[in-house]
């Protein structure tokens, strides 16, 4: 079933999300991928403040292509999440509510999701031009020098994603392929 969620996401929203649910997000999300995560992680390790408040946010793992004139954003599909596995638990422990990416997560991330009652959503990898239609506005937040990897705020309307790991740790990457495995 498809669930519409207005952001910021609430604890109750997250509680009601089950692995495999289709979700349409409306509101604002932040972006960040490899290089930005490395910087945030180093700040956390050194007990320094972060340049962006991640409390209650969903972070979208994306490095968009440039926007053509007349477009709010360029194509902006998800990047592989496992590269952020090293960093995600610390961010969740600091109040991040969830991540949007693609592909499997390791045990540390799944444990951190359950521990913090968070959620891991996935968008369809390689559907960047289609996904960009649901992103209405972008605003640079920090790390402009990282170019496509800078942290931005996206205003989204009916941004399509799927619950991959819910707050109880149910994981579609573990359950779904087994249903179609034939050898």
């Amino acid at each position: 079933m498809t669930k519409k969620i207005n952001l910021p996401i609430t604890d109750n929203d997250i509680k009601n999300l089950k692995a495999g649910d289709n979700v349409l997000l409306t509101g604002s999300i932040i972006t960040g991928r490899d290089a930005a995560h490395k910087r945030l992680f180093e700040l956390i390790q050194n007990n320094k403040p972060l340049p962006v408040d991640i409390t209650g946010e969903l972070i979208y793992y994306v490095g968009p292509a440039p926007a053509k004139p007349g477009y709010a954003v360029g194509p902006a599909g998800p990047t592989s999440s496992y590269r952020m596995d090293k960093y995600a638990p610390s961010l969740l422990d600091l109040g991040l509510k969830g991540m949007i990416g693609k592909g499997a997560r390791n045990r540390d991330v799944i444990d951190a999701i359950v521990r913090n009652r968070g959620v891991y959503l996935v968008a369809i990898g390689g559907a960047a031009a289609l996904i960009a239609k649901s992103i209405k506005k972008e605003e640079l937040l920090c790390y402009e020098d990282l170019g496509t990897e800078a942290i931005r705020r996206y205003t989204v309307e009916d941004f399509p994603c799927i619950v991959a790991i819910d707050s109880n740790g149910n994981n579609v990457y573990e359950t779904e392929p087994l249903k179609y495995k034939k050898n």
């Binding site: 495999g20 290089a35 994306v62 490095g63 968009p64 292509a65 440039p66 926007a67 053509k68 477009y71 360029g74 194509p75 902006a76 599909g77 990047t79 592989s80 496992y82 693609k102 592909g103 499997a104 996935v122 369809i124 990898g125 390689g126 559907a127 960047a128 031009a129 289609l130 996904i131 960009a132 239609k133 990282l146 170019g147 496509t148 399509p160 799927i162 579609v172 990457y173 359950t175 779904e176 392929p177 087994l178 249903k179 179609y180 495995k181 034939k182 050898n183």
Partner: protein, 283 residues
């Protein structure tokens, strides 16, 4: 055959167009495979994912925007005729200028860092390109160009198998590599396999295999059969579109081979996402 003079600008303009085209327009072979997969996919989620990928690729072509935000590292396989002279410049420089212009003027993402370990500073124009040049007889330059995203590149692997492994060992390594990649490389994938040669030749062949249209089988019927068998086995794994379950994990498997050493049987597996982008031109 007479010496033929080609302007550097002709090379640059051709390369620019190839990289813009391959990032906007998915190949007919891939689109047709996606449509067939959508018909045959047994998972409802998988069917929906395939519909969205098809819709995405139609939007990209219509609006001339990249179909994936990872517009890749620029890779070229060049057959350079030995009677060709670039009259006002250098071939590699002309190619890199074409890449620079495509990625800048074509609103493609700049995804290259200058140093792999320490600086990791973006070069801001997606250069340098990876250029594989083979000198051939003739007075033409043939270029196959493609942008390769790293979600799938990172899932690739190479192994120096030895002769006693035989065909079963080859199949096992290829299937193990796809199994480990699982949902990460944006399935349905295209699997490029290079067998033989040396360490680096096998890897290069595997990449070249991903640039071959997936509706063309290896000319050697033994390897054509291997391609079909591998595709069937991979689609039994269950990963499905986007790795969310289904019977479409791969759209195609292409195998390329080369003579090798008496002691060796290297196998390289280059995995490519469903956005298998390549375009070609002859100058």
């Amino acid at each position: 055959m007479e010496i033929r003079r080609i302007k550097a600008k002709t090379v640059t303009d051709t390369v620019k167009k190839l990289f813009m085209d391959c990032n906007y327009f998915i190949g007919k072979d891939i689109m047709s495979a996606l449509e067939n997969a959508k018909e045959n996919e047994s998972s409802p989620v998988g069917k929906s994912v395939l519909s969205q990928i098809i819709e995405n690729d139609i939007i990209a072509a219509k609006e001339e925007v990249p179909l994936c935000q990872d517009t890749g590292m620029a890779i070229l396989f060049v057959e350079y005729g030995d009677k060709v002279i670039i009259e006002d410049g250098n071939f590699d420089d002309a190619v890199n200028e074409g890449v620079r212009r495509a990625y800048t003027d074509g609103y493609l993402r700049k995804s290259v860092v200058s140093d792999p370990v320490f600086d990791r500073t973006n070069t801001n124009d997606n250069t340098p390109a990876i250029i594989h040049t083979k000198i051939v007889k003739g007075n033409q330059i043939k270029i196959i160009a493609g942008g390769k995203g790293f979600g799938s590149e990172n899932m690739s692997a190479i192994k120096m198998l030895t002769p006693s492994y035989g065909i079963e060992g080859v199949k096992k390594f290829i299937l193990d590599t796809v199994q480990i990649a699982g949902p990460n490389p944006c399935p349905p994938i295209v699997v490029g396999v290079g067998i033989g040669g040396t360490f680096e030749r096998a890897a290069q062949l595997a990449k070249k295999a991903t640039f071959r249209p997936i509706d063309i089988r290896n000319e050697d019927e033994r390897y054509a059969k291997l391609e079909n068998e591998l595709l069937e086995e991979i689609n039994k794994m269950g990963f499905g579109p986007a790795g969310l379950g289904g019977n479409t994990t791969a759209l195609g498997v292409n195998v390329e081979t080369s003579p090798t050493h008496i002691a060796g049987m290297p196998v390289a597996v280059n995995i490519c996402c469903h956005a298998a982008r390549h375009a070609s031109a002859v100058i």
